[in-house]
Every structure is written in structure tokens, then in C-alpha cells.
């Protein structure tokens, strides 16, 4: 079944979609602008709230399926001394339509899926993921920090999204869009929209993606990383890293978490919280030993993980080039620059 069929959406297709889907009891998540200049994915009931012009959401898509903090279970010490444990019910019984993530964030879900449905099937993740349809909006103007083309993606990449929406541009477009169906979920989504979309005319092609130069070669990067663990490059490159978690927390593919118990005298919750390999505590053992005692080793870990260990294990790199880490870095550090440097080192 061909899934890459193109549809054309009329000018109010989005409004209609929100209304229709909401009416159908689905949760519509879409980019909205809260504070000036800040766009995030929130639940909408009307298309008016949906932000139109933005580079990307501040927080990545991953939080929809892997929340920053989530209760895994609750426990209470009963008066007889036994401990009663109650597992938190599975989340999100509703179907969720993410209406308007960027192609890179959608692509990142591929990475997330690999992790959460690997040797351990994370039911909480899968419960959310299974019931979600990702409608990505293709990028028209990548930001200066974007480097998706360098990591195998594209502003118009359709990996991970169920539907990819292209704005048709131009003054005469009248808000019409071109919807490219990538999956069955996508088709179902199109079906639900009824007459607000129709198959595109023959010969209509999606606009060509905006220019975004490739800055490094991931194969070359991996090749260097394979040999470069002990390179003094790391120490030098990591000097300015302050060790905060902004890059990881904003990264659409970072997926490390920490499990904590929060308790009062006699009851509490077990929670899963985002964690970050940049934190010194990340690898701190109970013994006091820390296998990654210095910041450079943690910086190295993050890059190694994304561009060497992950590809080795899952066959794909764990970076989609969204540029959030670069934008968020307190010290103005740039992953793209680091990788460009690595690429250059590999190529001599």
C-alpha cells in the first residue's frame, strides 16, 4: 500500500482538523506561543492558538511520550507494617494527534522508539506512542543552528512522521498545504479530515527543501570516534562546558532517566525523571567512585553515545540536527562545530 500519496489541504484544513479531531475525542497537541518568542507543544482545541511562524518548539517532541517526570508507582506503609504498592495506571487513554511537530523531532522518535522498545518494552512509553499520530510541518527556514542535513535528515525529511505537511508558499497559496501521507496512521488522519483535504492534482510536487549545507560527514565522525576515545581533543573541547543539562534536556533524542522515590513519613511515589549524562552525579556510584569524574569525560560520553555507541547498537545515530543544544548552551558551545572539527580531524 502506497503511503506516500500526496493530498492537498484547503485553506481552513487546520481549523477543521482541530475541530474534527477534538470532537472525535482526540487530544490535539500543537505548537502554541506562550511567552513571546517561545513556542511549545500544548493541547489545543482551536487552530487559532496554533503558532504559525517559528523555527522549532523550545522543548522537543519526546516529552509527549517520555515526560520530564512521571510517577511509576505509589507506596504506603500500612499500620500493620506491610507496604502497600500501587502501580500508577497507564497514562493517556486518549488518542493523541500531534499537529505540527518539525520533521527533525519526528525523526527523533525513531531513536526514542529504539530505546524504549528494545530489550525492555516500556509499556508507559508504548502506550502513549501507539496512540499518537505525528503530523509534521516541513521546515521552510531552518535556523542558523540547524544541521539536520549533516546527520542524514532534511528540512523536508519524512522519517518518523505519519503525515508531512508542506506549506505551498507564495501569496496566492491562500493557506493551502500539501499533505504527504507516510503511514497508515497518516492515512487514517487524512480520512478523518474529510473534504478539507483531497488528493493532490497529478503532477503537484512538494516544494523543494530549503538549502542547508552539510557541515560534516557522520561516517567520518564515527571513524574518528572509533579511535579517538583517548584523544586530548576532548579535554580541550570540553573546557568551556559548565556541565548543565540544558543540551540534554532539550535534545529530542536524549532519553536517559533517573528513578527516584519521593516519600513522606509513611507513603511516597517512585518517579522517573529526565537525567543527563553531563551531570557529575550521573555516573556517581554509591561507593563514591565516579567512572566519569571529569567534565570532559562526560562531554565525550554524550558525543560518543550519539555518534558511535548508539549507531553501533541500533544502526542509526542519535542526533537529528535540530540545533536545540546549540541554542541552549550557556557557554555558546556548538555540537555542530565540535563534529565539524572531528570530521576535519578524521579527514586530516
Amino acid at each position: 500500500m502506497p503511503t506516500n500519496k500526496l493530498y492537498e489541504g484547503v485553506s481552513d484544513w487546520l481549523q477543521s482538523a482541530v475541530e474534527t479531531l477534538s470532537a472525535a475525542g482526540m487530544t490535539v497537541i500543537a505548537p502554541t506561543q506562550g511567552e513571546p518568542g517561545v513556542v511549545n507543544l500544548t493541547r489545543v482545541t482551536s487552530a487559532e492558538a496554533i503558532a504559525e511562524r517559528y523555527d522549532n518548539t523550545l522543548l522537543p517532541l519526546k516529552g509527549q511520550f517520555f515526560p520530564i517526570t512521571e510517577t511509576l508507582l505509589e507506596f504506603e506503609r500500612c499500620e500493620d507494617g506491610d507496604v502497600e504498592i500501587q502501580t500508577e495506571p497507564l497514562p493517556a487513554p486518549d488518542e493523541v494527534i500531534v499537529l505540527g511537530c518539525r520533521p527533525c523531532d519526528a525523526a527523533a522518535m525513531g531513536t526514542m522508539d529504539k530505546v524504549f522498545q528494545w530489550d525492555y518494552d516500556d509499556v508507559r512509553y508504548r502506550a502513549r506512542r501507539d496512540r499518537a499520530t505525528l503530523v509534521a510541518f516541513a521546515c521552510t527556514t531552518p535556523s542558523p543552528e540547524c544541521f539536520c542535513t549533516s546527520v542524514g535528515g532534511s528540512p523536508h525529511g519524512d522519517e518518523g512522521s505519519d503525515v508531512l505537511v508542506f506549506g505551498l508558499g507564495g501569496d496566492d497559496s491562500g493557506g493551502r498545504v500539501l499533505l504527504k501521507v507516510n503511514t497508515d496512521k497518516g492515512r487514517q488522519f487524512i480520512d478523518r479530515l474529510g473534504d478539507r483535504v483531497r488528493p493532490a492534482s497529478e503532477g503537484v510536487q512538494p516544494p523543494s527543501p530549503p538549502e542547508l549545507a552539510r557541515r560534516f560527514d557522520t561516517d567520518a565522525v564515527k571513524a574518528w570516534l572509533d579511535e579517538g576515545f583517548d584523544s586530548d581533543f576532548w579535554q580541550q573541547m570540553a573546557l568551556s562546558c559548565l556541565g548543565c543539562g540544558a543540551c540534554s534536556f532539550l535534545c529530542p533524542t536524549c532519553h536517559c532517566f533517573d528513578i527516584v522515590d519521593e516519600a513522606t513519613w509513611n507513603r511516597g511515589q517512585r518517579r522517573r525523571n529526565w537525567d543527563c549524562c553531563s551531570f557529575s552525579l550521573f555516573t556517581l556510584h554509591a561507593s563514591g567512585h565516579n567512572p566519569r569524574p571529569e567534565q570532559f569525560s562526560r562531554c565525550r560520553q554524550r558525543i560518543m553515545h550519539k555518534f558511535k555507541y548508539f549507531p553501533e547498537r541500533f544502526g542509526r545515530i542519535a542526533c537529528v540536527g535540530c540545533g536545540r543544544c546549540i541554542r541552549a548552551c550557556a557557554a555558546g558551545r556548538s555540537l555542530a562545530e565540535v563534529l565539524t572539527e572531528v570530521d576535519a580531524r578524521q579527514k586530516g
Binding site: 516519600a263 513522606t264 513519613w265 563514591g288
Partner: protein, 592 residues
Amino acid sequence: MINLTIDNQQIEAEEGKTLLAAATLAGIDIPTLCYHPAVPSAGACRICVVEITGGGQPGLVPACAYPVQEGLEIQTESERVVASRRMTLALMLARSPGATIIQEMAQEYGAEPVPMDKGDDDCIMCGLCVRVCQDVIGQSAVCFEGRGHERKITTPYDKQSEVCLGCGACAFICPTGAIDPADYCPHPLETIPNDFNCGLDTRTPIHIPFPQAVPNKPLIDRENCIHFITGGCEACKQICPADAIDFDMTDEYVTEKVGAIVVATGYELFNPDVYAEYGYGRYPDVVTSIEFERMVSASGPTTGELVRPSTGKPPKTVVFLQCIGSRREQGGLPYCSKICCMYTAKHAILYKHKVHDGQAFVFYMDVRSGGKNYEQFVRRVIKEQMATYLRGRVAKIFPSDGKLIVRGADTLSGTQVEIAAEMVVLAPAMVPAAGIRNLAQTLRIGYDEHGFLLEAHPKLRPVETNTAGVFLAGACHSPKDIPDSVAQASAAASKVLGLISHQTLTREPTIGIVDEETCNACFECEGACAYGAIGPKELKDRKGEVTAVVAYINEGLCQGCGACAVTCRSKSIEVQGYRDDQLFAAINATGR
């Protein structure tokens, strides 16, 4: 060594010594006036003449300037010598009839002021001032001028001397007290009040602080010492036979590690000049009890003679005023100073001993004579009519006709009294020594609003403070008389002994412990610690090299209050018994 005979006594003397030195060494007394060991001899006054009766050219020679010679035979009190001295003194007496020392020596030698021309100049031209200034101080700010009988001591060209340091050595060395440096000195030395005598007399920059000082050694008051002011003088250094003067000596901080501290800073008197109605500070005859105490003391400024500061004559009527500042909620101090009732009774007795026909009055609020035999003592004073006790306060003191009119109320008879007193003695309140608050803060001990130091517990731990190892004795704690102070001091001493007689110190376990792993060594805890228990500690590796400095809490000093733990941002201090996890659990439990 040179052998000679002085007063038929065989004497050995070092070559170059004077006859005077040789005689002094042999215990033979020769009177001197122009001689001072600090300055070169002049042989000017001729009072020290002795007679050479053999072994040299016979005649009178000045012992202070004549060197010993082998075989000399000397008579120090021969008829000729005595006649010469007598005439010398007669002549000096004619010139300086007012000079005490001359009067005394003249009396001793039976020198009559022969009927000659009389002068009134206390200066006997001994020239000690000139010599001390030139040879000891090195300044030559005073000199002789003129010749013969016209000779006088003055400054060069009779102008105020630029080189005068104002050291006062001239005045000091002058045997007749004829010199007042203020007359010619461009920057005369301030007279330094003798603090021990409440400023009733003066002292020199080198002084022994008080008669029973331990050690009983003089000290140099740098602020007033001419050497430290001008860099010159050094007179003391030159004359000190023991070579004990050391100008490089400075006050030094002596650091001692001690196991206990007893605070015994004593008291001061409340300054009564805030009560304008009593005129203290304005009327010279209004004195404080401590000033009175010094006045009647044999070692005091008047060597025990009780006189009115205004006239120098014994006061015929003395009024003692009690509770000056004490027991006064408004404009004073609320507490009873405890000792005044008793010492005033004593003062009344002392007064009657000094001035038999004198009359003493005591204005009191209540006579508080609690203490062994105290009441009997006061009764005796009243019964033997050593003082008239009047219950009531004095409203006003004002001078009239050379006396002080003390106007007050006698509340027992309900009448207004006026007493024409020649001296009024105020009994000011006892207040803690100045600087006691600083000391208390340094020792981290508490003090009350008046500055009296706080005991750990008024009944159970009266000599301890809340800081372990710090004890109190005497008036620093509260007004106390001598027996009480001694008792408290003894108690404090035995507490100290109890503390330090053990090899180890036993204490409650609630103390702070530093987590050396996480301590940032910012030492903000040090500021929070009221006991100075926190200091740096060096952490060393196996090679003995310092790897880190962290805070360390002295278990002996820590009282376990926990202020440090709160100040510590990294939560690196725990108080045993109040550990974070314990408190966390306690707080959690409140949410049960």
C-alpha cells in the same frame, strides 16, 4: 684599683671613679645638689666638698668631681668641710629662701640665713638642667646666660627654643623645682594625670602603674614619652644602671593555649557628672568615693592627708551621698551597687580619724548592710556619732561663700535640710569595666543590658558561662564586695581545677561534625559560631601533602547550637543528635 682612706676607712676604688662614688660604695654619705648620676659632674654647688687631709694637696675638693687618687686621705665631715657646707647652704638660702630642699639641708647643717642680701629665685644654678639637656637629651635647649651673679638659666637668646623636645627632663632633674617647662617649651609636655589616683595628681611617662603592681616595674607610656614623640631624649636609657630600657620593646600579643579562662575585669564607677545638680566636675570639692579613698590613702596623692581640693585645707564638714546612679530607673541604673553603704560607713570612720573635729553626714535611701558583721559596723558609725545619717535624697548642691550648700530632704523628719559642706563625696553606681562588651563578644559569652556578664545559670551554675571553659569572678558579673568577689573567684578557680585536672574532657555529644568530603572551606560557619570553635584543618594525603583545607570543629568548644550547620550551604555540617536525617524524619512525621 686605688687605695685611699675616707673618714679613716680604708677603701678600694676603681681608677677613674670619683670620691663620691667611692664613698657611696663604702656606705659613706656625702650630700649633693648639683650631682646626678645621669649627667656629668660639674662640681658647681660645692655642697659635696670633702677635705683632703693627706696624700695630696690639702684642701677642700668636690667629691662628685674629684677622682680617687692613690693614698688620698679624705675627711667628709671635718670641721672645715661642715663649715664650708654650712656657708654654701647659707648662701643658697640667701638666694633661694623658698627652695624646700635648701631649707631642709640648711636645717640639717645648722646654716643660718646670714644677714645678707636675699633673693627669691628658687634656682640655685646647679646647672643640672643644662647638663641633662645637653648631655642626656642631646638638645641644649636650656643654657646659662650671663656671668657671675647675673648668671641665669634660660633658653638661647631668651627665645622659645626650637630644639626643646618638651621632655621635661630639666624640670624633673631640678632639685629645687624651679623649672616650669611650660615657661619656655614650644610644646610643653601635657601633665599626665595619674589614673590610679583618679587624676588627682600627675605622673611621668615612665611610671609604675600603681603601688602594688605586679611586677612592680616601671613602664614607658609611649603616647607621652618624649622619645616616642620626637625620637630624641633617651634620658632613661642613659641613666638606667641596669641597662633595662629597651625602646624596641613593643606591646605584643601573647598567644597561650589555655584550658580555661576566668574573667575578672572588675568594675568602674558610673560617671556622676550626668547629674548636674551635684556639680561633679564643676565644684572641685565634690568628689567621688574612689577619689576620697585615694585622698585618705597613705599612698595617695596627698600621702594620706585629707584636704579640700579647692583650698588644700582639711574639710570640716563632709557630706556623703549614696546611690548616685544606683537604684534609679530613670536616668540611672536600676540595680543596687551593693558596696556603697559599707564603704561609706568606712569612709565616715576614716574621715573622723583624719579630721577629729570634722562632721560627717550621710544621705541614704536605705542602708543595706547584709553581710557578716556589716550591720554592726554601720550601727557603730551611727551610734558613735561618726556620721549623721539622713534618709533622703539631695536635690541640689551649690557653692556659697567657699562652701557647698547641700540641700536635701530628711524624709524621716519630713524636713528640708541644708548643710554647708566643705566636701561632698558621691557614691556612684558600679558599672562593668569599659570594653567588657568587646571582651564578651570575643569570648562569646553573654552580657546583660548593663554589660554585666551572664552566668550560665543564676542558681546552679553561677560562676560558669555558657561558653565551656570560661568562668566569671567578681564585679564583671554583678556588683560585689570583696568577700563576695573572693568567694566567686575561689569558686571559679575550683571549677577550673575540676576542669583541667582530668586528662580528658567529658562533654555532651551534641556537637557539630564536618563532612570533610563536601566542605567547601568557605568558612562562613566560622562567622556563625558563637564559640570560635571552628577553624581550618588541613587534609593530607598519604605522602603528607596538603590536599585540601576544610573546616574543623573543636569538640571542646562546640556547644552544639547548630548555627554553623544552617550557614553551611552544602550541608556539610551535622549536629550530632540533631542530624539532618533525624530532623528530616521528624518533619516528615509531622505530615503523618
